[in-house]
């Protein structure tokens, strides 16, 4: 600040995010954690799927590749 007095509007704007942000209670934190765990499992499953399909597509060619 340049030393000028802040108006009410400016203060409200500066604190807007604090006013709108809701309080994260225990239940909300728990739900967010559950969602994060679910997303993690989906990502792990995708990695496994891509790996398994790659092996399936390569099939016997893995064994017969030139060294």
């Amino acid at each position: 600040m340049s030393g000028e007095e802040e108006t009410t509007e400016e203060a409200r704007e500066r604190n807007r995010h604090k006013i709108e942000a809701p309080h994260w209670d225990e239940a909300m934190v728990k739900r967010r954690r559950q969602r994060n765990v679910a997303i993690a499992w989906v990502l792990v499953a995708l990695v496994v799927l891509f790996f398994v399909v790659t092996i399936a597509k390569l099939g016997g060619n893995i064994a017969s590749r030139p060294l």
Binding site: E20, W24, R31, Q34, R35, V37, A38, L49, V52, K57
Partner: protein
């Protein structure tokens, strides 16, 4: 956007629901995928996968089914996002995640879009791009053509929009063969012709809900007598279409016999509904009973028809014409 932001959703009737982002559980997001609809999609796709000529590696087949299921679910989520305003006012749908405030419309839209793009990409990368293109078209057809355009503008909404539900066995077939054939189109046509009598039977009983929210379902726009007549007409078209797999050489005598018998029962129930007008005093009990009987049987009918194709293929029963 912060995941903690409050979102106001203004519905068509002017009511405003305030939902807080980040409140939904993983189960709420799963509910957005319309798991009950998804189960029928998975089953019909499985039949397309097994019946298609040639074979597919089980792992790749499983991947194709997964992509079809997730793609169908994504269309369901986008449908719930767009229809949140009318869902909030219909008894059948008001407990869905968005109208009940558990998930914000923005969250549903992002979730549906990511799932749709993901399912199409994985289908293309791991199965083949023909199946991926069909899946992308199906999602577009359901979310845009049906939900955003037809549903609120024409009483033929369910006829044309029903195509979206008919594509899964065709996508699965393409996952195996890499192309679209007459045989896969016949599977598409069975579900396509089955959808109007199936859905209109339910819509007859729920027409009050649709009228209230301004969705031009056939019973609302053309009246109940015309709806009962259209159900009969589509049923008459449906029964020969269910025999097309026999003519196209991928169904045997068991399928031909049982499907004919089931078709006759379907026609009898449709005919009974066509004759059952509301009583003179406006009592709709008998009409509703006839409609719900047809609706209930139609689910069993489609399930049995596709099961027969599956059983014949697994048991090695030869087609009538080969």
């Amino acid at each position: 956007m912060s995941d903690t932001a409050f979102t106001d959703t203004e519905f068509a009737d002017g009511s405003i629901a305030s939902a807080q982002g980040g409140m939904g559980t993983a189960g709420d997001f799963f509910e957005l995928l319309k798991p009950r609809v998804m189960s029928l999609v998975i089953f019909t796709a499985l039949v397309g996968l097994v019946v298609a000529p040639g074979g597919i590696n089980p792992v790749i087949g499983f991947t194709a089914l997964l992509c079809i299921a997730v793609g169908a679910g994504a269309s369901g989520a986008l449908n719930m996002w767009y229809d949140a305003d009318i869902d909030a006012r219909m008894t059948r749908t008001r407990t869905r995640p968005i109208p009940s405030g558990r998930v914000t419309p923005q969250e549903a839209a992002v979730f549906g879009t990511v799932m749709a793009a993901g399912s199409v990409f994985v289908m293309g990368a791991l199965v083949n791009w023909t199946a991926a293109a069909l899946l992308a078209f199906t999602i577009f057809f359901y979310a845009v053509v049906y939900t955003m355009w037809l549903k609120r503008s024409t009483p033929q909404n369910i006829v044309i929009g029903g195509a979206a539900g008919a594509f899964p066995p065709m996508i699965a077939w393409a996952a195996v063969t890499g192309d679209v054939s007459l045989q896969s189109i016949s599977l598409f046509l069975i579900i396509f012709m089955w959808t109007p009598p199936h859905f209109w039977a339910l819509a007859l009983c729920k027409s009050g809900d649709y009228e209230e929210v301004g969705v031009p379902m056939l019973p609302v726009v053309a009246g109940e007598r015309e709806t009962r007549r259209q159900i009969m007409l589509y049923s008459l078209l449906l029964v020969p279409v269910t025999l097309s797999p026999v003519a196209l050489g991928f169904a045997g005598w068991l399928y031909a016999g049982v499907t004919t018998a089931l078709g006759l029962i379907f026609l009898a129930l449709a005919a009974r509904l066509a004759r059952t007008a509301p009583a003179a005093d406006g009592d709709i009990t008998a009409r509703n009973k006839a409609a719900m009987r047809l609706f209930g049987f139609s689910i069993l009918y489609l399930f049995l028809i596709f099961s027969l194709l599956l059983v014949e293929k697994m048991a090695g029963i030869a087609p009538v014409f080969s």
